[in-house]
Symmetry: C2
Subunit: 546 residues, 2 copies
Amino acid sequence: MKRFINSKSDIVTEALDGFLATTPNDKLARLDGYPHTKVIVRTDWNKSRVALVSGGGSGHEPAHAGFVGEGMLTAAVCGEVFASPSVDAVLSAIVAVSGEAGCLLIVKNYTGDRLNFGLAAERAKALGYKVEVVIVADDISIPGAHQPRGLAGTLFVHKVAGYLAARGALLEDVAQAARDAAACSYSIGLSLETCTVPGNAKDDYLKDNEAELGLGIHGEPGVTKIVFDTAAKLMRMVCDQLEKVVRSDKARYAAIINNLGAVPPLEMGILAHSLSKTALGGHIDIVIGPAHLMTSLDMNGFSVSIMELDAPRKKALLSDVEVSNWPGLREGGTVTISALPDIGSRKKYSFVANETVQAVVLAVCNRLVSAEGELNELDARTGDGDTGTTFGNAARYILSELEEMPFGDGADMCATLSDRLSQNMGGSSGVLMAILFAAASEAFHQKASWPSAIMAGVTRMMNYGGAKLGDRTMLDSLLPALEALLNGKSVSDAANAAREGADATAMMDQARAGRSAYVPSENLRGVTDPGAEAIALVFEEISTIV
Amino acid sequence: MKRFINSKSDIVTEALDGFLATTPNDKLARLDGYPHTKVIVRTDWNKSRVALVSGGGSGHEPAHAGFVGEGMLTAAVCGEVFASPSVDAVLSAIVAVSGEAGCLLIVKNYTGDRLNFGLAAERAKALGYKVEVVIVADDISIPGAHQPRGLAGTLFVHKVAGYLAARGALLEDVAQAARDAAACSYSIGLSLETCTVPGNAKDDYLKDNEAELGLGIHGEPGVTKIVFDTAAKLMRMVCDQLEKVVRSDKARYAAIINNLGAVPPLEMGILAHSLSKTALGGHIDIVIGPAHLMTSLDMNGFSVSIMELDAPRKKALLSDVEVSNWPGLREGGTVTISALPDIGSRKKYSFVANETVQAVVLAVCNRLVSAEGELNELDARTGDGDTGTTFGNAARYILSELEEMPFGDGADMCATLSDRLSQNMGGSSGVLMAILFAAASEAFHQKASWPSAIMAGVTRMMNYGGAKLGDRTMLDSLLPALEALLNGKSVSDAANAAREGADATAMMDQARAGRSAYVPSENLRGVTDPGAEAIALVFEEISTIV
């Protein structure tokens, strides 16, 4: 299986060092005990208050190292992937951070963790430390389970205990609050695929139409295999289980929406939305996540945890922490909707006379309509054969609105063309033409002539479109023609320049922009670019009038 | 493909509403333009400063909606997945947030985005707004590319421009700083698998030994197919490309380590560690991430972006923002190492005489050694057949140390047994026994008798071990025996109680804890639990002495 690891034996130490070197919380250190002892501690800790130590097997990042810092944990003891840390490692953590105020161990309910943290607690007591232990067993996937597993609800316990410890509460009070928080925390997970344990092949036992409900965080199969369904229905299955533990209609809860590893943020947003639509959603006052909090390696799934709120627990959750992996939380999650602003409905222009401009527009549009087949044919040799239709449709639309065109006002005329072409020409060409005429209109407001206004538009179009002369686009005929006009040459000269430019595109065997950028050279050779050809036809037509 | 979505047409609106309802930043709203106009705006915005608008296709979460807030963006315009938002949507965003100070559009370099944001900018100017546009083209995967793509380096531009805008800088100055930041930002991505575009089957074109380098963020194939390798070597390939743009030996950079979608935090930590070991790492003063910043749906890959630092850009990056998806950053990422505390080396005990205790220990150990085969046989009928060996090994070890045992001091004797058993018995049993004797030692310090001290130990062991009477473990003989002693009965009575308890386990066809918890009932029936049997043998042995 392809995963981003080096050697299996260095996974956890490298990941921890990568974390320590990049976490915005620069008040963290590791104990000098690699590889056996992997303990992350606060460097800004003076032992004057109750120390909180948590941990367990790795593979659940950012838990638990990511939650060390003022307001949450004092130390995290990390085992190898999915393996409990040793008694000595836990004891090292306790000794490193505990003072007179004592230490609370927060332990997820797995046999290995219970035993190793438990023995370390007994050893620490023998050394004279005051130690309390709270076991978190928030999994509700097996009704009446003898030993429910510890899942993401552990974060609630970290936060509640962390709040009290930071404020100098006594060990017994911190421990009691932690036990109470653990006792009213409930979690269940759902996944579409299992996780990949490093060094093992991925066990793809779920079929394409299967998911599983009631997961641990160590790659154990879920309690129930379910039929894959929409995000809303899968979320409802999770919430149906959690609703069973909701104590009363009036009970209020905090929720954790936990990414089990590999779900992209887009989908976590959909799941969060789906949660808000469930009956459980109506009981939730505070949401933490969606975020990676207690992962199970690369599991493509999520879990939801809830904790019943009372005033002290709510206050504890809402308190600020100096822990960069704590994602913050949201109280009362409604979506605020602001009024859509008026972006100007389609502006009405009225007819303003200018016989020459009107004649040019009429002739150009007619020429483009008549050239439709020819241009499509050119385009078909290198592309999808619709250039003629695109120009033709636009021309027909303009022809249908001639009676409302302000031919005599350059700025308004260009603004009209920009509006109409962006709405009716379609595709990139429509937007490019709309940009051209919008910028030309702006130029007219600063007293430009037609050629200089169009040139200003073309410059803006190049700016956004990214093409330039020689890229085998309409620019290859348009730019020479405009330059001729701006240099005082006649329209006929401009038409000749456009024609030369268009013909030259047939010699270009590489397109650098636009629709032909990915067409092989041999297909391009000898074929005139249809956009450049259209421009040449337009200038030839204008030269018969002006 | 199994993904957490509902209908394809609702992906983006649902994900945005899920985001809005859960983000800790509760000063966000969406414009009332669903489904066509998907624009996220600040509600705490008074238009007095330059507005920053960014956006593009969706599928890159948390970009860009997640970066709206004081110090970064003023609005994010979201298209459908991998599709540019419409001109009208962009224009709505500009109009919604722009005042006299004007608006800067930050656009990733994709044709659709350039054109739609570009035309919207022109339209906004026609409506009287001051608008500037900066295009981010930070992809370095195609040397000499005509139009490099916009990737995660866009975040640098958001942050630099956001800093200046928040401090009231003029539009032209914000735009210039944004252009300068874009001009010295460089990115490249690497992935092990492509992403799954909703509604399309996943195109698994990479073989098990392949990866690809030089990715866009829209599922385009990478520029180079490479051979899959360790995290360190893959990271080096990425950094080799970035090192080519490092301007001089003295040039200093900020780096973004971006999760492209589905890489679990554990592996991102390993990648961050690998990056710190490259030559490029020596040029990096500031690290942002690892984090999900600019994803490509569920792509199992990462990208690294760098931006050259000068004093103003560094200051801008380091400034605080009110944007919950901004992950913060780390300056000067070294790993701090604290001394491993002394957890007490193996305590030396010396011989203290007590003939009875010594005789009991000797007899018990000898009995366990002689029972090794019998106990293994019992265990083999329901488990892995090593209970006898586990007890036998422990007994042999204790026998080898009899000369140093403080038999005459209950507290020390129990502490010795706890130490020796945790180090030499192995497995859960060793830890459980160590806990038992550690707690018994503690009890002796409070003047307990042997039976009450052992009972205190057993209670603690049950606490951590999680088993109780009737769970088909050694407790089923141990507890009745201890209770007999504590009720003033003789050792012989206690032995009888232990024997009864052990024999009763053969009738229990369900184990609730310990090694037999997953053994089917039919295999358990008629078989005595070997742990309970060992305890019965021990008490029978003691009754011959005391």
